[in-house]
Amino acid sequence: MEDKKQGADSNSKKGISRRSFIRGAGLSTAGSVLLTTNAFAFGSEEKLTAGKEFGPGATTIQMKINGMVESLSVEPRTTLAAALRDHLELTGTKVVCDRGSCSACTVYLDGKPVNSCMMSVFDVGDKEITTIEGIAKNGELHPVQEAFIEHDASQCGYCTPGMVMSCVHLVENNTNPTLDDVKNATRGNLCRCGTHPHVFKATLAAANKTN
């Protein structure tokens, strides 16, 4: 499959059935295609009725990431974090604790923040993944990202993608967050440089601006 990315239609509601999600092992190159209804004929009648076994070797699967469909060849033991970082070079997602305790690997699965280090890439199915690389749209930063810059809410920057993911999710789902709300949203995000006070300020400022 040709590795080309084009403008994404992230609003596409058409899902990928589990069968088309998991393609035959013959396709081994990683690639991505535009997520449109024309690319695949996804029929709801194709839903699986019996269980299927994959692996332990590599299987080529497709995932919806940041509005694109990506093909990649992975083993069931490959975590989503490893798939993003090592197979798709989406290295904004960081692995810090590798046990779900630091949230540096936060991505959204159908809009919900999850730890990509604690799930198999086979857990994703036809859910849509959003990574830190998908937060800015068409080169335009999200207000939370703008505010992080304005309020110096990153030091070494290694926790920053995870922090941004937690804070963007908050601001998108709570139009008027309080300081406690921001603390709640980032309670799982480890930062060793101690940037939290600026993260709090930035997120509250972004929420104010968004309103």
Binding site: C97, I132, L141, P161, R192, G194
Partner: protein, 781 residues
């Protein structure tokens, strides 16, 4: 020598600002006025690499992916003390996807134990024994689990006090010289003095040795405080672990490193592999935290290089979280005995300090210079002992030694104040001779509202409030071997180059600010390319040396480049270049206001495509250079803490911190706040949360992960107010210094003093936990 005299701002604005005349080298740039009169320096300027960070585009060492790259994993010892009889790699070798296995063999060096076999003796759990390179990290891990190490186990000792016993198992039966790597670990000794596992003592620092006569000092004292304080082992836990990607090509060893010191890693790799420095290139663009532990190539650097050499392919080798905790450095623990004498009027007559600490298999477990220099006292002596144990080696950790030392001293001073029936802040006014800390106490106390402080333990109710204060000092360290290249291109582009790295402190941004200020441009006009040993040598990021070391050369180089450019304009305008200046992106003339030329246009006058100037920095103005390249002086800080203690559950919460700091001329206010916040939060963590838990029966660290090695998350963060005191000392062309370490020193003591004020019982040991509070309150039977 060609010099000139200039008048510099001197002192603290709003307090005692004056001028001082200094004789400076003739080529140094003109005096900068105080920040109020500058455009870009001392302002809030956005971090220039912030967009990369918030979008996930910033590439760290761990993010590197090179064509053909292999993933490596280290083999580590599972036992704390042993000789290795054999290592069986046969199964691992035949695993599909494994490309190379490298085992560390014994190279008997002078001073090492003689009874070694083919492999080095194992001295702690986690000691590196070898490594595997494979197609994927998972395969490398599979291969490691297939390697069988046959140990001949020996008795071991983990606990500091147990190791001090005369009949304790001996960790090394020879003198050792291994220092905690990097940073400033204070005065060192050769590890040959002492008995058993107890080595030393170190009795002096670069501030000198013992002073006066202790016995006489204590005889003169009316009041004596004599206490023992204890601090725990703390591991660095940077978010990005230690590691490298090494691509050893035939003509060049390329090293991508997560490091605080590209230059040191380059020198180390060159020396280990017998390569000229010019054949090793170390690059660190983005770096995910170090806090003192990332100054060297470690064992992973040579391991990755050996695997790269064996396979002819680039090798990625990053530590996992457990390896990071057990083998990549820690702040040693301490047991500090302190005896302080004072007269009835409060005058200090004597300070005696004796400390023991363990940096595991390394040295460097002292408690710093705080007791020696924070308060003038005529009679002083310290003995700082290193105790060897079978645990991972210590490493520099943000203000090494001094954080431990401040926890003891600043509580003892509080205890003395109480015995004198004096307010602890007033007592410090009496005995502290630092002008900058005096101002910090005044301004800080006002901001914090210190006057609301009540007598210790006097609060009513279950949850008791307490207020406390702690102070610190940090020298103005400077690395004179610091150089920068500033290039002006003939399209108006301006570029800064140095091997100095930005470890998250914002070095890239302050360099851009300095050059923008000097060239009359905006920060956005400047491109910063640093963290590459192909560029002029910059300092390591340790000891808070970076700002003081690298900003003067940066300004100097920019000034030289500007001078060269203005000469071209002067020639065109047929005037003297000394009449010209650049402001708001325009070259102008002091004589003729009509003469204007945009900067970009001026750069087109060049005969060559660029002006390139490399500059270093002069000795400190005023002749304060020390033989070892360090400059003294006091970067003072005063921190105030407010805590709540639940006397039923023992739960302690820090509610508020006011942190008053000096760092010479402040360069970037936002970044300074960030670093002060970080120092404070790490200090709170040290006081209340983090603690390396070792099972002394097996030698393993039990909480070598993120969830049980506890550090603060969002809800533990108090309100933090920073107070930055501008202070001009006329020592260099920027007169600016770092803040990283000063920010971390006083916090734990301030918190401990506040806890005492809340409950009326003093805790002499950290971390302060629900358990220790309930014990202190006699609630545990």
């Amino acid at each position: 020598m060609d010099t000139r005299k200039e008048k510099f701002p001197y002192g603290i604005p709003g307090h005692n600002l004056s001028e001082i005349e200094r004789e400076i080298p003739i080529e140094e740039p003109p005096v900068w006025p105080i920040n109020d009169k500058l455009k870009i320096i001392g302002k809030r300027v956005n971090r220039i690499d912030a967009v990369d960070k918030v979008t996930g585009k910033a590439k760290y060492t761990s993010d590197m992916k090179l064509p053909g790259m292999l993933y490596a994993k280290m083999l580590r010892s599972k036992v704390p003390h042993a000789a290795i009889k054999s290592i069986d790699i046969s199964e691992a070798k035949s695993l599909a996807g494994v490309h190379a296995i490298y085992l560390i063999e014994n190279t008997q060096k002078e001073g090492e134990e003689k009874n070694n076999g083919k492999f080095p003796m194992v001295k702690y759990v986690g000691q590196p024994l070898g490594g595997v390179a494979a197609d994927s990290l998972e395969i490398a891990k599979d291969a490691i689990s297939l390697i069988k190490v046959n140990y001949e186990e020996k008795p071991f000792v983990i606990d500091l006090e147990a190791a001090m016993e005369m009949d304790a198992p001996i960790v090394f039966d020879v003198p050792i010289t291994r220092q905690a790597d990097g940073g400033d670990v204070g005065e060192v000794h050769d590890g040959s003095k002492g008995q058993g596992n107890v080595r030393g003592p170190s009795t002096s620092s670069f501030f000198g040795g013992p002073r006066g006569d202790l016995e006489q000092g204590f005889n003169e004292a009316d009041i004596i405080v004599e206490k023992t304080y204890r601090t725990q082992v703390q591991t660095h836990m940077p978010l990005e672990t230690h590691g490298v990607v090494v691509d050893w090509r035939p003509d060049m060893m390329m090293v991508y490193a997560s490091t605080q010191n590209t230059n040191a890693v380059r020198n180390e790799m060159a020396s280990i592999f017998g390569l000229p420095k010019s054949k090793v290139r170390v690059v660190c663009d983005f770096m995910g935290g170090g806090f003192g532990a990332k100054h060297s190539a470690g064992s992973f650097g040579p391991m990755a290089a050996n695997l790269s050499k064996k396979t002819g392919r680039p090798v990625w080798l990053m530590m996992d979280r457990q390896e990071e905790h057990i083998a990549e450095g820690n702040r040693p623990n301490s047991i500090q005995y302190l005896k302080i004498g004072a007269k009835k009027n409060g005058t200090l007559t004597a300070i005696q300090q004796r400390s023991h600490g363990t940096a595991g298999v390394g040295l460097g477990a002292g408690v710093g210079r705080i007791a020696q220099v924070l308060y003038p006292c005529p009679n002083f002596a310290t003995e700082q002992y290193d105790v060897l144990t079978n645990a991972g080696p210590g490493a520099a950790w943000r203000a090494p030694g001094n954080v431990q030392g401040a926890f003891g001293l600043e509580q003892a001073i509080d205890e003395m104040a109480e015995k004198l029936n004096m307010d602890p802040l007033k007592y410090r006014d009496l005995i502290d001779k630092s002008e900058v800390r005096k101002i910090e106490r005044q301004r800080g106390a006002k901001l914090f509202n210190w006057s609301r402080r009540q007598p210790a333990g006097s609060g009513k109710g279950l949850v008791k409030k307490g207020l406390g204060v702690g102070q610190s000092t940090w020298p103005r360290f400077v690395t004179l071997d610091s150089s920068v290249e500033v290039k002006i291109h003939n399209d108006g582009g301006v570029e800064i180059r140095s091997s100095v790295q930005d470890i998250g402190t914002g070095t890239k941004t302050i360099l851009a600010q300095v050059v923008a200020e000097e060239l009359g441009l905006q920060v956005n006009d400047i491109t910063v390319n640093i963290g590459d040993t192909f560029f002029p040598v910059g300092p390591g990021s340790g000891g808070s040396v970076v700002t003081g070391s690298i900003t003067p050369p940066t300004r100097n180089a920019a000034f030289e480049a500007k001078t060269a450019l203005l000469k071209l304009v002067a020639k065109k305008w047929e005037t003297d270049s000394s009449e010209l200046f650049i402001e708001n992106g325009q070259v102008g003339s002091k004589k003729d206001a009509n003469l204007k030329m945009p900067f970009k246009e001026a750069t087109k006058l060049m005969r060559t495509s660029q002006i390139s100037k490399i500059a270093s920095r002069s000795d400190d103005y005023g002749g304060f250079q020390q033989p070892w390249g360090l400059a003294y002086g006091d970067l003072g800080s005063v921190q105030f803490a407010e805590v709540s203690v639940n006397t039923d559950t023992g739960f302690v919460k820090v509610d508020k911190i006011v942190a008053a700091h000096s760092c010479g001329r402040p360069l970037n206010i936002g970044q300074l706040e960030s670093q002060i916040n970080g120092g404070v939060i790490q200090g709170i963590s040290y006081a209340l949360y983090e603690n390396r838990i070792m099972d002394t029966g097996t030698g393993h660290m039990m909480n070598a992960n993120v969830d049980q090695y506890k550090v603060p998350y969002s809800m533990e963060i108090p309100e933090i107010e920073t107070l930055i005191v501008e202070e001009y000392s006329a020592l260099s062309s920027t007169d600016a210094y770092g803040i990283g370490e000063p920010a971390n020193i006083a916090t734990a003591a301030a918190v401990a003093n506040a806890v005492y004020n809340a409950i009326g019982v003093r805790l002499h040991e950290i971390p302060i936990t629900p358990s220790s509070i309930l014990k202190a309150l006699n609630k545990v039977s």
